[in-house]
Symmetry: C2
Amino acid sequence: MPNISARSQAAPASPIRRLYPLAVEAKRKGKRVYHLNIGQPDIPTPEAFLRGIREAKVEVLDYAPSPGRPEAIHAVQAYYAELGFHLTPQEILITIGGSEAITFALMVTCDPGDRVLIPEPFYPNYLGYARLANVEITPLTTFRSEGFHLPPRREIERHLTPNTKAILLSNPANPTGVVYTEAELDMLVALALQYDLFLIVDEVYREFVYDGKHKSILSYPEIAGQAIVVDSISKRLSACGARIGMLISRNKEVMAAAQKCATIRLSAPTFEQLGFAAFMADPNHRDIIARMIEEYRVRRDTFCEELAKIPGVTFRKPEGAFYVMFGLPVQDSEDFIRWMLTDFPGPETVMFAPGAGFYATPGKGQDEVRGAYVLNTEDLRRACAILAEGLTLYTAALARARG
Amino acid sequence: MPNISARSQAAPASPIRRLYPLAVEAKRKGKRVYHLNIGQPDIPTPEAFLRGIREAKVEVLDYAPSPGRPEAIHAVQAYYAELGFHLTPQEILITIGGSEAITFALMVTCDPGDRVLIPEPFYPNYLGYARLANVEITPLTTFRSEGFHLPPRREIERHLTPNTKAILLSNPANPTGVVYTEAELDMLVALALQYDLFLIVDEVYREFVYDGKHKSILSYPEIAGQAIVVDSISKRLSACGARIGMLISRNKEVMAAAQKCATIRLSAPTFEQLGFAAFMADPNHRDIIARMIEEYRVRRDTFCEELAKIPGVTFRKPEGAFYVMFGLPVQDSEDFIRWMLTDFPGPETVMFAPGAGFYATPGKGQDEVRGAYVLNTEDLRRACAILAEGLTLYTAALARARG
């Protein structure tokens, strides 16, 4: 039988997948599992979006135009205009989720063997897209003790190679919740200009900022020709299953190449594009987003407050997104999470994402986990109480096992 | 400014895109354009599918499971069971259209620099997927005079190289309408076994067979470990905009690698998966498909009958899909199509896809066009009358221009 490709073997499966069967098994046994492991919001999808889908006038469900339905492109223009950015339709491509936007950005900027610099810990799917596209990742380690902010410019420069074509980062970031400061962005822009790099910024969590202010890479006219924004409605419309994202750039060559990628895959799904357009046509759409962000702010504060009470848990309160990457007083956080799913006594348990899965550098993040505060505050408090109890029992069990 | 990648420059834009602005301009001037250039059916999408979307119970539109919603996987199982193939859920992956299934198949079977053998003329997006994945295509030329059936085994063997990892073909084929005979499939299977090649068969037009019988590659147990089926609901549910396809294989390694690709891009759109499940739950779904196929049979017969009347038009009546690849008495069919959009007099005109765009071998197909019989029979007759008149006028205009 022929062998499958090396690239598909190299592409990492989401590390959390190893643990999922254990969660399923725990639930089969009647256990309640608080899922803080996945960035899947629990907030209901706005009614205007769902109504847009239900009431879409479709007789023949034909291919949407490859760059996106005009209604959806117009909705993106309207959304960005509210943020102060005036985009032409040619600067927008509707993609199949933020996922496809990242894939297109890598395909357009990199040939096989080229490198992308990414601050770690980072969203593990970045590594998957890169492996399938045969793009190499240079991880730039950031640290919990510094709230995962960027290292000094000199340190970043040290990581550049002649094959480095782009810097990719998410801002606000998954999994760390960091929101980069204006000074950090200024530095990245100067660096990208000096070294002639593309700057790919995943801004899907743009609205989820609780301290300070988010600055979009679109605010920098001087980098317009090198900046590519990856965006998605998944998080801010609580519509992860819609698969509607967008790629934005003011570089005409980039857009022409991305449009070619889009032509090849034909189109993004029609109904969800219409749902997005209907959401933007709802005069209350800004309030709906604002209420949701306020809910997440309360969750962040609650979650951080409760985490801070747990002995041995270490973190700096993150400024955005809906994640906290925190340290645990254990040597192997994946083993702890496994134990919580299989051995923790009682009717409830909690699941986090193991930290190591967010690092490309081997050995990093072993004592960390990512918690997604996508549950209501009561559940978050309960999850933290379970975590605290779990840490005590796990440590004791480990000590017993070691005799 | 940094350069975009070589691969995105190499990826061909659909050749028809050069002509589209002319069609738009013709319509702006009030001209009616009969679009026989695109495989977009005009048949209404089945009501059961649309109702399934309208009535979907969704409160939080969360990520669907990466391999597909259980309802959709079950619908695929039910559909294949009707064809006599009993698939486990693990042998099925729901993809974002047949497009994504082809991309995954190439990613899983080929590394950069590897080769795929494809009979030409072929669906031009195959070349796009391959270029972006840095997979090389070896075209295997087939001929109009032979109804685009395969050349002898010896000729195919001559095209294999040590880097050839797979044979990719569509059956029934786009753009030729050929349905491969059992003898041809037997030969391909024997060849794939002997040379240890994957056999990727795009069977999206499986139901569109008017003469003889379609044989799925799934009918060959001996090639089960090397066969990958690409499929989609786009054509048989007249739901191109749904972006619901599927990848099927009985090779566990292939499926594990494809599932990894699926995990990285998260999920296929939810509503359309539910629409497909609702369609399959309609007890009349087989009748709906059968009625549509009967309509296409009449269209094929009408279109071929009318084409046969036009002096200088050459083709062999195709057995399936909804395309005819035919020869025109012109030297440059793209120039003729352009002339029909810009210079043909009167209130109506017709558009086809230029033949050269379906060949990877330079210079091939210059006198050919692909006609998609996706219009009702009255419109097809009218389109053929316009074509006949156009050929006469174009030839005369050309003669005049040459003095």
